[in-house]
Symmetry: C2
């Protein structure tokens, strides 16, 4: 496997989260992070892309494990939906989403596009970890 600059970066990233840089994880990194635009996906769609050309195969279990590890490490963000499937986003910056009820597609909304002038205080002893807005749209 050719170790590109990106791959070196991924190795660093993984090590800093105590994840061994295995060839499977690096391959998944390429599919997730070697992109211009941010990427919304489910384990199912990611699995299809990675294993379409059956050069090197990554098992479904590994994809589940890795996506979970990346989410815990903060490299991926889980998206809120009402569907019984987990959606992830490579854009981990604070941002929001349009959810199109017709096409069932998610689109990013840059955080600067939404401004809140009033936010409630959290219950006693709790801190706000994150705030997400989902705007459902339709025709």
């Amino acid at each position: 496997m050719i170790i590109s600059d990106n791959l070196k970066m991924y190795v660093k990233k993984l090590r800093s989260s105590n994840l061994r840089p295995t060839k499977q994880r690096l391959k998944i990194c390429q599919y997730l992070f070697d992109r211009d635009k941010t990427f919304h996906f489910t384990v199912e769609t990611l699995n299809k892309k990675i294993n379409k050309n059956r050069a090197t195969k990554v098992s479904l279990a590994t994809i589940y494990n890795t996506v979970e590890a990346f989410t815990n490490a903060g490299y991926l963000k889980e998206i809120l939906t009402s569907k019984n499937k987990s959606y992830y986003d490579t854009n981990i910056k604070s941002h929001h989403h349009f959810y199109d009820e017709g096409s069932k597609e998610l689109t990013d909304i840059h955080y600067s596009q939404i401004k809140l002038s009033k936010v409630p205080t959290p219950p006693k002893g709790k801190k706000i970890k994150n705030l997400e807005v989902v705007i459902r749209i339709q025709k």
Copy 2:
């Protein structure tokens, strides 16, 4: 079965949505709407409550069907979470939620507690149907 005023109301509600007022649907109505506070639930929790005392039994399939029908009719609102389970809310008014990552509990936030001073324009040809804020909290 004693037809209370509430039940008469439910019959009206159901008819206006072209749902026959069967005894199962009316029973589910009582569990959902005969309350002071709004109620967050999953099909699992609702099923347990309804079938705890095995006086009259309602099948799981009917609970699924009815919850879906009520959601389509606008009597229930599906809640966005990142868990692979459907959550519903009897509060169909526009409002928001705290999601406690520790206890995994949802709490309502009254719509007046959050104010947005800037909202993006939806993509061409699309209208905003609904806007929801989820604030994730933790210790």
